[in-house]
């Protein structure tokens, strides 16, 4: 049982099933739209409707039925032909006796909006609009030039029109563009047709396969074309070269990204001023791949679009484009996921402090020295075969770059209120919660050693395991007694927060290098250059060593500052320490 509708085709009444009605309505809408631009659209569509009515009558009589069903409609449409059939037939007949659509018919002629390729400065939009409204193009151009002053509105509108409005390519297009002077009767029809044309283009934008890539390619192609005519033939070569340059830049960028990622895999992140422990993140390879895709896909697409515009090659097909888009979005998702995971590990912070009482020297002079020694793990030293190949040699880090890493130590020098120097080590870290943060902070080791008057500061904080870095930091505060002298050179000064001008305080300014010491003395006002006369005078008063306890090492928690678990380290003794020792390799046994 089906619902039927009663329709009236030019005076004849039919019962038609709902589904069949929808089909017929759709077909007639198409037909009417197709003949819309023709001056005789009413007559043609009426003829077609009449013929359809007649065919329905015949069918009903032949099959002795009362209602039209959808098979009937399909059969009729087949006989009458679809809009596509009309189109192909019209291609054949166009230009037969006359230009059929435009010169025919007495009053109503259609004028349509096209970009004028014959009279253009940039894209021919202004000339097209001028043709449409039958005014001089210069006024439209002036309007756009003025509107450009209002935050570039004109430019935006111009570009949108450039994309949407088709170029007048054929003779028919150009005739339609210029048209005859509008009369009142034709105006309404023109306007409606125009709206449907523009609507059609907007629809195309939405519905066409790979619409955006397509439009972009056309647009860029157009852009290059007009730039080309703008600059003449020399410009043409320049434009192509520019296009090639951009393509090469895209390829270069992609290669650079891949090389960069490989480099971080092979050498670790150290060379790129990223905390190297970040690369110990469990899913770092996922992050690498996602990052590479995220960066390379747009570069590739840009390269393809430009090359298709410059060389008129075909763009990539739709499914490949969508696949790339999906991969790109997934990469973005993966990166965001890992970023949020990493961020979650930085939620809370914790820290602790420990104090080391240093052994005072008789003359209260302390050499601050940067320990550049490369500390190796047991595995690393086995791998590098340190004993056999680097025996009696010092392995140092190549530490010439001026950038301090996030895990570099920072040293503050203050006045001590006890008669012996004190080193306060403050460890902080972040973690997903307080406990985690504290455990991260504990999981680090800072190597500090005193060799009589030489205080050796390791340049960075080290982690005991290969876990990810969580912003672990060490802040050192060296408290030295009043009138005590510290000898500072350029190497360690980079890590010291106090501002000291080593150059002005150099005993031998002509001959200094970054290992030359400058003496500073602790006064009531803070550190001062010992070479200043006033300071010297104060220093000449006899100082006397106080009775202080031997090395007191206060250890909090399970930390030890004296030994390093399971490491070989090769000790540098370049400092002018009182006893100059030969270079030795010392091995610290694992102590659990």
């Amino acid at each position: 049982m089906n619902k039927t509708i009663i329709i009236n085709i030019n005076g004849t009444v039919f019962h038609i099933e709902e589904q069949a009605y929808e089909l017929l309505k759709e077909y007639m809408t198409d037909v009417k739209r197709h003949f819309f631009n023709s001056a005789d659209s009413l007559e043609i569509t009426t003829d077609i409707e009449n013929r359809i009515a007649e065919m329905f009558t015949e069918i009903l009589a032949r099959e002795a039925r009362q209602a039209i069903i959808d098979q009937d409609v399909t059969a009729v449409i087949e006989q009458m032909g679809s809009v596509k059939d009309f189109e192909s037939a019209e291609q054949e007949t166009a230009g037969g006796f006359n230009e059929p659509n435009f010169t025919m018919g007495a009053g109503a002629t259609t004028r349509r909006l096209f970009r004028d390729p014959e009279d253009h400065l940039i894209g021919g939009v202004c000339a097209g609009i001028a043709n449409y409204f039958d005014i001089k193009a210069v006024w439209v151009r002036l309007f756009f030039a003025v509107s450009f002053l209002f935050a570039g509105t004109g430019a935006m509108v111009y570009i949108i029109l450039w994309i949407i409005v088709p170029k007048a390519l054929t003779r028919a297009d150009k005739m339609a563009m210029k048209g005859e002077p509008l009369d009142l009767q034709g105006f309404k029809r023109n306007f409606e047709a125009e709206m449907s044309t523009v609507g059609g283009h907007l629809n195309n934008l939405r519905n066409e396969a790979r619409p955006l890539a397509f439009q972009t390619r056309d647009f860029i192609s157009d852009f290059f074309h007009h730039l080309t005519t703008f600059f003449g033939s020399a410009g043409k070569i320049l434009i192509k070269l520019l296009g090639i340059a951009i393509i090469l830049a895209c390829i270069g960028g992609s290669i650079a990204i891949v090389v960069f990622l490989f480099a971080t895999m092979v050498f670790g992140g150290n060379h790129f001023s990223v905390p190297d422990s970040f690369f110990n993140y469990t899913y770092i390879n996922q992050v690498r791949v996602a990052f590479a895709l995220l960066a390379i896909i747009p570069l590739t697409m840009l390269g393809i679009v430009i090359s298709s515009a410059v060389f008129n090659t075909t763009s990539i097909n739709r499914s490949a484009g969508y696949t790339l888009l999906i991969i790109w979005i997934s990469s973005l998702g993966v990166l965001l996921y890992h970023a949020s995971r990493v961020a979650a590990e930085f939620r809370d912070s914790a820290g602790f402090t420990q104090t080391i009482n240093l052994k005072p020297t008789a003359n209260q002079v302390y050499y601050l020295e940067l320990n550049e020694t490369r500390y190796l793990t047991h595995e690393d030293s086995t791998r590098l075969d340190v004993k056999a190949r680097f025996n009696n040699m010092v392995l140092t880090d190549d530490d010439d770059n001026d950038d301090l890493e996030p895990n570099s130590m920072r040293l503050n020098i203050e006045k001590s209120d006890v008669p012996y120097p004190v080193l306060i080590e403050e460890f902080t870290s972040r973690g997903s919660d307080y406990e985690e943060a504290l455990s991260n902070a504990r999981n680090t080791r800072y190597i500090f050693a005193q060799q009589d008057s030489v205080l050796k500061f390791d340049y960075k904080l080290r982690r005991l395991d290969h876990n990810m870095w969580h912003g672990e930091e060490v802040k050192l505060t060296l408290r030295i007694p009043l009138k005590a002298t510290i000898m500072v050179n350029d190497k360690i000064n980079r890590y010291i927060n106090n501002s000291m001008n080593l150059w002005d305080c150099s005993p031998n300014p002509e001959n200094r290098n970054n290992r030359t010491y400058s003496p500073f003395v602790m006064t009531k006002e803070g550190l001062q250059c010992k070479l200043d006369s006033a300071v010297i005078a104060a220093q000449e008063q006899p100082t006397q060593s106080n009775n202080v306890p031997d090395t007191v090492i206060m250890i909090q928690g399970k930390r030890s500052t004296q030994t390093a678990p399971d490491t070989i380290y090769i000790d540098s003794t370049e400092a002018p320490a009182p006893e100059r020792k030969p270079v030795v390799i010392r091995k610290y046994r694992k102590k659990q």
Partner: protein, 110 residues
Amino acid sequence: MLVENTQTQMRKGILEYCILCVIAKGEIYASDIIAELKKAQLLVVEGTLYPLLTRLKNNGLLSYNWVESTSGPPRKYYVLSPEGQEVLKHLDKTWQELYFAVQTSIEGRK
């Protein structure tokens, strides 16, 4: 592309000439014109005929009479106007010339 273009050019004039020929046989209804053209394998679907007829009519080559029909609405029966007959005579002559030209050109070709 080139082939299609040439085919289009060839069919263009012939279709209209044939329609005029068919109508010249006497007063005729659109669907009968279609039947004739289908027989001649020139047209396949009816819908494409109506714009052509309208155009020929507007050019003054055709006129039509309304005839009551037993099955459905009144029908348009097309007939050649005197002007159309004049044009057809010219076209006949042209066709003879074309036919001769083509025959001469392809003569002796395998």
